[in-house]
């Protein structure tokens, strides 16, 4: 895959009186085309500053950032051509209609007049605002304005989208709609960097995350890799139709792969010797081997005569990851 965003040692220092404030401290990041990167961090951690640097709106103090091969400092115009930036707080021009608003930005992006109508119709359809084409911008709800801003961001068909807290202030329905829209954009092959505090929703569509605190990227990578990093193990749930005791015994005898075995989703043995142990149920194992070794565990169970109905890794909650890596400190 093509590397489309490459950030190395990015720093931003503000001078407040005689003091220096390190808003961003040596951030490294590499994203491939089609990645959806969730940028997570407490308020004031440096997310917006980083996004503004990538959007060419702020010069970095040190480090480099390349987007589609263009340097954000030395080639800002080329970068602006390939990115779409949606700030955390944004306004829309009042006194103009939705299509006029988009037409203005289409003209600003030098899209020929003959092509503008078609493009405006396309982005309106994508953001589900076709019905509002002739409405005045000020009459739109917050969620619609958010979608309109996203439509504006898409008007020049950018390769990379920088979305700063796009879901903030939206009601649950609007958030769901936004999530669906981001999934559609992902399907279109856009690379998206999205910052948000709504972690469970990000978990659904981000394939990579980065956690930033006090200006430092404390962790970045694929969600499950990071989860494994936290716990040193991956949890796997195994639903057994028959042969639960055999499975338990077998798993306990695999210390090179299995760290712990727990019963879940059923009553555990109550210690009464007259009660026969249950033959079916679900086990949660702490797996510490390599990812390809999971198959070996499953094969061993099947070969031992255990009837396995389901075998799947447990996804780690992004909130767990966030809480594990952050201390609630700002830059």
């Amino acid at each position: 895959m093509t590397v489309i965003v490459q950030v190395k040692g990015l720093e931003k220092v503000y001078r407040v009186g005689r003091q220096k404030l390190h808003a961003v401290k040596g951030i490294d990041l590499e994203l491939e085309q089609g990645d959806i990167f969730g940028f997570i961090g407490p308020n004031g951690a440096g997310k917006t500053t980083t996004l503004k640097i990538l959007a060419t709106l702020l010069p970095p103090t040190a480090g480099t950032a390349l987007i589609a091969g263009h340097d954000v400092v030395t080639e800002p115009d080329a970068v602006r051509e390939v990115i779409g930036y949606m700030p955390d707080f944004f306004g829309v021009y009042d006194d103009i209609k939705v299509w006029e608003y988009l037409d203005f930005f289409a003209a600003a992006y030098r899209i020929p007049k003959a092509r503008r109508t078609g493009i405006i119709d396309d982005v309106l359809a994508l953001t589900d605002l076709t019905d509002k084409k002739d409405s005045y911008v000020e009459s739109l709800s917050r969620g619609m304005k958010q979608r309109l801003c996203l439509a504006k961001t898409l008007i020049h068909d950018p390769k990379v989208l920088l979305l700063d807290e796009p879901a903030s202030g939206l009601d649950p329905r609007a958030r769901i709609e936004l999530k669906e829209l981001l999934k559609e954009l992902q399907a279109m092959g856009k690379t998206i960097i999205v910052s948000s505090h709504i972690l469970p929703e990000m978990e659904e569509f981000c394939n990579k995350i980065g956690i930033i605190e006090r200006g430092e990227m404390v962790v970045a990578g694929e969600v499950q890799q990071i989860a494994r990093q936290i716990r040193g193990q991956q949890f796997i749930e195994i639903t057994i139709a028959d042969g639960l005791p055999i499975a338990e015994q077998l798993l306990h005898n695999m210390p090179e792969w299995v760290h712990s075995v727990q019963r879940c989703g059923m009553e555990s043995a109550n210690g009464d010797a007259s009660t026969p142990p249950p033959q079916r149920g679900t086990l949660r194992i702490g797996y510490i081997g390599a990812p390809e070794g999971e198959y070996e565990v499953l094969t061993a169970l099947v070969q031992a005569g255990v009837k396995v109905r389901a075998f799947h890794p447990v996804k780690t909650d992004l909130e767990d990851v966030f809480l594990r890596f952050t201390k609630g400190q700002v830059a």
């Binding site: 060419t56 700030p87 944004f90 009042d94 600003a108």
Partner: protein
Amino acid sequence: MLENPIFLREMRIRLPKHRGARIGILIMVSVFLIAVYLRMINELIQRAGANNSDADLLWDILVWAQFVFVLFAAPAYASNAFSREKEQQTWDLLLMTPLTASEIVLGKLLGRLTVFLLPIVIILPLEILIALVLGYYANGMFFLTLFTLLIFTFFFVSLSLYASWSLSRTLYAQIVSYTVLIGVLSIGTALLTAAALALSNISSGTSSSTLEQPWLWLNPFYLFSLLFEQPRDHLYQLGIGLLIYLIVGLLMIYHIIYNLRRHRE
């Protein structure tokens, strides 16, 4: 410039929203102007050659009204050009577009100027008629007056734009614009002139001419009044004053473009 999206948006926002309303206003203004013009032509033809004092008075009223309108309306109208973008958080969105600094600034400038030039253009046919009666074409007064109005409009709008660029709030930009235009240039220079004259009189014991005071050459009211002076012996002061205003206005616009370009690079 007609393709400049900033200019087109400024025009779109400033004009009435509904097409019906636009046409209605256009028809009403046209009917009113035609009626006024017909009446004026009739009056002027009757009086031409006999007594020009009415035409002269009307000329003075129209021209002064335009000047005062621009002076007082420019800060109110043009001081939000940049600060409003920042207030309503559209500035970053604008900076992200490939529009150049010159396109953004000149689009704003021409958008605002056009609105001020519209009343001048509407009244222009009437002024042409009066100038014909008064013979202002022959002595160049018509064009000098028009040129003076244009330079002042440019300066007032440029100053308001500069205040809007320099300050983050529209209210502050308006206050600064009014303070400079009314407080400093209109009242301040008059007070300085009075003070300088008083000091000069006290020290020399003789009275010196008001017209010798260079502070007054910056006073827009004084400069504009030179257009109506008879005989027109001090028009050179108007020329110098207008040149200063033009250069300062151009410098302010250039400074905004330069800073915006640096900011975006």
